[in-house]
Each structure stands twice: as C-alpha cells, then as structure tokens.
C-alpha cells in the first residue's frame, strides 16, 4: 500500500472563483473552519498558518503551489499536539474543477477534491487526526457557499 491518504470530494453550487475566495479569505475561513483562523497571502512559497481564536498556533506550513481558482497545495504540520507534531509534515492538495453534477443548477457545479497525505508512513496519526475534521469543515464550506450559513457551529478544541 502507498502512503496513508484521504481523498474527500464535494460538489458545490458555486463558481471556481468564489470557492477560491472562500478558501483564501481569513474572514470566510473563520466562519466555516470551526473557529480556526488562517494566516497566509496564498502565494507559492509563502508561509501558511492556522490559529485558534485565543491566538495559539494550531498548524503551520508553507504554500507549495497556488493557482487561483484551480489548485492549492499546502505543506502542513501540526503544532499543538506533540504526538502529531512528531508525525511530521503532510501534504494537502485542494483541487477545483468545473463539473456536471447538479441538473437543477444548470448542470454546473464546482468539484472540490481534497487530498491529504503523509510524507512518510510515520505520518499516519496526523492523517487519522485530520480525517475526522475535514468532513465537517467541507460540509460547512458547501453550506456557506450555497446558503450563506454554516451547517455545524462547533469549535475545534486544542
């Protein structure tokens, strides 16, 4: 078997540009990402960081690739749990494509594919940890873009 990986897919009734804006705007991110704040200018090579509302750092990394409205790749490491930090860096790829999915939306939707993989087999605990959070974050993102409101209002606890 290859490296431990998760692949999550959702179809959203929106445009690639609006989805990109949602993923990269700190104010919007805080709404759907369970109270987590993002800090980055989302350019290739720039630092990237997730922070809890109390200011503590949750995760850090680097933008490996940023193609607006198409593709975002983040080199990602946990910072607040020693056992997860020890699991090392992971790579999270977000891909945005137009897709024929919702006939009731003119047959057009945006397909968001999130792939999160560990760099080594040692990274399994980190992939395990993010695998539980991603579906909630994605459901919220979809709900926010389609209805203007989030589905799940819980907060990430440290």
């Amino acid at each position: 078997m290859s490296k431990p990986t998760f692949v999550y897919v959702t179809y959203i009734r929106t445009t690639p540009e609006k989805l990109w804006a949602a993923l990269t705007d700190p104010v919007t991110v805080e709404k759907f990402w369970l109270g987590v704040r993002v800090e980055s200018d989302f350019r290739t090579g720039s630092p990237w960081m997730l922070k809890f509302t109390d200011g503590r750092t949750a995760d850090t990394g680097e933008i490996l690739e940023a193609v607006p409205a198409k593709r975002l790749v983040i080199h990602w490491r946990n910072e607040f749990k020693p056992e997860l930090k020890a699991a090392g860096f992971t790579r999270c790829t977000m891909e945005i494509e137009l897709a024929d999915y919702y006939p009731d939306f003119g047959g057009r939707a945006v397909k968001l594919t999130i792939t999160h993989e560990a760099e080594t087999a040692q990274g399994a605990p980190m992939i395990e940890a993010v695998s539980g959070g991603w579906p909630k974050v994605i459901a919220n993102l979809k709900s926010l873009l389609e209805t203007g409101d989030i589905a799940f209002s819980g907060k990430v606890s440290a």
Binding site: T5, V7, V9, Y11, K136, I138, A139, A151, F152
Partner: protein
C-alpha cells in the same frame, strides 16, 4: 441525495465501502480479490454507482485507479437531520430556561 440512499441500499456496495474503510485507496483488482463470489464486472458496476453517488473518490496513480471512501455525503445527511434535532433540543432548553426564570418574578 437520492443517489446516496440508492447506493447504500445494497449490501454488496456497503461491503465494498467497509473494505475501503479498513484499507483506503485500493485498486479494482484488490477489491475483486476481497470478494471471491463476485465477478469483476459486478464489482466494477457497484464501484461506478458508488462513485456516481460521490461515496467513492478515485485517484489515478500511474496506470492504476485507486478508490477512496468519501464520507462527505454521509456527513451532509447527518447534518441535515441529526444536526436539526440537536438544534431543536437546544431551542427546547432555552424555552425551558426562559419559562423557569420568568416564573421567579
């Protein structure tokens, strides 16, 4: 959402999802080897239905196609109904609190 329920209504397809849950990212060959009673065509057809319902995501790696369990649609179903029940329970509690507190005056 119809597609999700239709896809989940079949025991063989639920079994395929279970096996991806245990070992994510399998090829068609690997999945076929796990169900000796089913033809390759049948497994392939079930996988196509699961992918159409977005319960499976596929990734091409070289010449291989890897299948991954995608829990996002099931999570959306949970949010639609279970999330709603949680909200109504919170509403009921806040009504109770209001009623009890106004009774003190």
């Amino acid at each position: 959402m119809d597609l999700v329920f239709k896809a989940l209504a079949d025991a063989s397809r639920r079994d395929l999802l279970d096996r991806l849950r245990a070992d994510n990212g399998q090829t068609l060959n690997q999945l076929c080897a796990g169900v000796p009673g089913m033809t390759r065509q049948a497994v392939s057809k079930h996988l196509a239905l699961l992918e159409e319902a977005n319960l499976i995501a596929t990734v091409k790696r070289g010449r291989e196609k890897l299948h991954y369990l995608n829990p996002v649609p099931i999570h959306e179903i949970a949010e639609r109904w279970i999330g709603k029940f949680e909200r109504s329970r919170l509403d009921a509690l806040s009504e109770l609190k209001k009623a009890l507190e106004s009774g003190d005056e």
